[in-house]
Symmetry: C2
Subunit: 270 residues, 2 copies
């Protein structure tokens, strides 16, 4: 079985595997890219995580995740900035070219205030991003997360923000799960053009039983993944395609079999 | 306790009550408008339901619901048209000026095909709507329902559809639950103007535990209901404000107390 070149897998997708296990399994399966969740860096020096990747011929394609900028107090907001700068440092240390931003939201704040604090927060991290040479990838999240995970919910909104923030160090991570329903999708992807620096895939299940952890493997759901990929590649994007699946169901099964299915599903449905 | 003039309640909001109970309770509490779900019409002649309302000084402000236009076969699509025409007849019979459309979606069809079938379906019902003098109110549903309940997910999309369909017999039912997160909300409500013929309220809970039946009473969640009401009324809208709450939690409690709380919440948070 030949494994596609551009396939990357998020460590969260095979949640039961720790980093040494994940990199060994991915490498053995011919996968070359990893979406590295920060929890997988815990418990060992960054240089050691980097070596683990290098030794297996794996590339960290993104560090997941920064963001969560809105806060009820100045202290909370400052802590978020500190954490995002730390994430940028970590990304640089493991060789990841981008930090994916789940921008955050507080239900106690108005949408407008949440959105302002997010834009301000990203703006405050740009110098640090430039200094370590790592990009900030805004990931618009599905509107069902607008209350407490991200008040940034469409590619159109990302475009408006980046019009303000500049696009040298800020881009967009487009995840089909969050954006597939958007009537403006094609228009806004075209407008985003080279701003799209990340592309994540999974599928939307009918019915979906859980707000967070019931995503489908590509092909299990209704998302036109190939159609969205074509829109994204129309902009010139030819980077990694990252499989990011949160699924209590898949996590409960045999992960070796799941990895095999991911590669097959990628070939068939992406 | 004086009950606000424009308050209407959907029979689904007090699901445990049948129609005779609901109208008696609403009337006793000073509520004058009812969002009438079709299940509440079952089991008696339409004229009898109408008398029940009239005898209690209640007005059916909307019939809920038509829609579900997409189908996998021509037979299925025809059945949907027949059902929508029946809904229009029922609305006329009970004196409701509009049928609320939950437009439908089939995960087996592409978004584009779902959306085309919806527009075609509504178009095919306009003559009948005109003949019975009842409007079709498109209710955009939250994007988390785009797979199987409605492929119409924003006010912007409704506007685009109505640009095609004409607005003599087609309008928009704006429900804060579905639209609160939309970055284009103010812009698209302004564009909709007099097309907005229905306004529904409830709240978004954090966390939300169920995709369907975990809506909040106004004030329990994060939606800026007064802000959205102001946008809607800026267009000249001065119609009924319909309380539509699906909540396993509230349905499990004492409905008299819930009705009391609805009226208070309306006064405080709408």
């Amino acid at each position: 079985m030949e494994t596609p070149d551009r396939l990357a897998i998020h460590t969260m997708t095979t949640k039961p595997w720790d980093l040494p296990t994940a990199v060994a399994k991915y490498a053995a399966a011919g996968v070359r890219g990893v979406g590295l969740w920060r929890q997988w860096l815990d418990g060992r020096p960054l240089a050691e995580s980097r070596s683990l990747l290098d030794d297996h011929g794996l590339k960290a394609v993104s560090l997941v995740r920064g963001g969560f900028f809105p806060g009820l107090t100045a202290t909370e907001r400052q802590a978020a900035l500190d954490d995002n700068r730390r994430a940028l440092d970590e990304a640089a240390a493991v060789g990841a070219p981008q930090v994916v931003l789940v921008c955050g939201a507080k239900p106690e704040l108005s949408l407008a205030e949440n959105r302002k604090q997010i834009t301000d927060g990203i703006a405050a991290c740009i110098d640090h991003a430039a200094s370590v040479g790592v990009k900030l990838a805004i990931e618009p999240l599905h509107p069902m997360y607008a209350d407490c995970r991200s008040a940034v919910n469409t590619i159109g909104q990302c475009n408006d923000m980046i019009d303000q923030l500049g696009d040298e160090w800020v881009g967009i991570a487009a995840d089909v799960y969050h954006i597939w329903w958007d009537p403006e999708l094609e228009l806004q992807i075209r407008r985003a053009a080279a701003r799209i620096i990340g592309f994540h895939v999974c599928d939307w299940l009918t019915p979906t039983s859980d707000f967070l952890n019931d995503r489908g493997l590509m092909g299990e759901g209704c998302i036109d993944i190939k159609g969205i990929r074509a829109m994204v590649e129309q902009t010139g994007f030819n980077g990694w395609i990252e499989v990011e699946i949160f699924s209590t169901r898949h996590w409960a099964g045999d992960q070796d079999g799941f990895l095999h299915n991911i590669i097959n599903a990628y070939k068939q449905h992406v």
